[in-house]
Symmetry: D2
Subunit: 134 residues, 4 copies
Amino acid sequence: MYTHEVTLRVRYGETDKMGFVYYGVYAQYYEVGRVELLRSLGISYKSIEENGFELPVLNFNINYKKPAHYDDKLTLKTSLKEMPTSKIIFFYECFNNNNQLINSGEISLVFVNKATKKPCRAPEIITRRLSSFL
Amino acid sequence: MYTHEVTLRVRYGETDKMGFVYYGVYAQYYEVGRVELLRSLGISYKSIEENGFELPVLNFNINYKKPAHYDDKLTLKTSLKEMPTSKIIFFYECFNNNNQLINSGEISLVFVNKATKKPCRAPEIITRRLSSFL
Amino acid sequence: MYTHEVTLRVRYGETDKMGFVYYGVYAQYYEVGRVELLRSLGISYKSIEENGFELPVLNFNINYKKPAHYDDKLTLKTSLKEMPTSKIIFFYECFNNNNQLINSGEISLVFVNKATKKPCRAPEIITRRLSSFL
Amino acid sequence: MYTHEVTLRVRYGETDKMGFVYYGVYAQYYEVGRVELLRSLGISYKSIEENGFELPVLNFNINYKKPAHYDDKLTLKTSLKEMPTSKIIFFYECFNNNNQLINSGEISLVFVNKATKKPCRAPEIITRRLSSFL
């Protein structure tokens, strides 16, 4: 397993009238988690796209246990458990200031060749960098 | 089963650099779907909150089949299949202009007493209005 | 002057912990306003882009007079007062359910040739359609 | 003048189909700028609200000079030039990776007593902390 941790400060506009982080905002947080996990491996998601890949989301599943509030400093742990094929699955756990798990989830994405719009294998840079961990 | 349909026009700011609706935006669309389903039953979600309930999301699960694009007019079908208890589960199917299913999902929410912060039964107005359908 | 009116229902995720529509959300509402103004003239903003134009925003200025709340049905009046050149300026007035002005503003955008990335004249379809009004 | 600098990494969902940061997203960035300016003075915006104040936006004005792109690391400089009264005005300059000014603007907010909903003076903690700078 390869895990990477980021911290995220809740922005005012990310809260809703209940005073909680709006449930849809975690899609953005989880995206930050996977981009920074890749960056920690020396891989820029931006350059993956520039090299002819797209990475649309296939499935997003999230379980909410506790709310987050304005100005909370959240810790998001993002993990890869299996070597990506044409699919890559990120697992998430999000913790609040008190180290309580507030939500968890997973997101599957598929590598697509930008030119042909067909699914394709994960770029070799990703599998190579992950090979010592998975 | 009780089903309600809304149409949603994709806004520019809802797209991302792939040219697709950002995957997290559907959380907002699905929220519009359930609010309008309730309105079609004569129930204002706003007044549910004003009557002392909160309705946080427990689980959000969505499968993406095709992307949506800027200015698309999407049709979102929201359904209730079972009478809500303290939990209510909405089922979703989202279609594009060509009547192709572009994503589907479900969202579970829990009724919470605003004062005690404890889960509680669905407000009677909801179960009464649904009783002829479910 | 050419004016077009749209109604917008405030979404839950558009509110913040003050219980008001977050001040940045009006950028999206104003964008809907100008897109629907163009549509009312028989012009699709999407097709403008497809015909080789981009229309980035130069200036956005908004004065907030009153807050909007969840589920409010807002009326947004968007106006053009002058024939667009390479610049186009939209004027806005946003009203709540009680017909109170809650904010007003203006947005300047510039027509850019997508290929050269240089400013260019407004597409002829826009000036032609507006010629009976301005 | 008191100035504070933050860096912001552009998120995928903050881009639009032009490939740029959506013009409305800067409202969130500017909000981060002012919250972190206050934090640099030892003031938590959250505690201001908890002490009975609200701080709605009166005016937001922004000039866009260049676009920002996905994954850019932006530097946002937020400044106070005058001691706040019941109004507080933040000035902004946003720079890209190459230290080019990409946009600038200002935001006026008003201190409101949460109980009476009337404008009121800036909390004493703010004027005291700023007194050596302004």
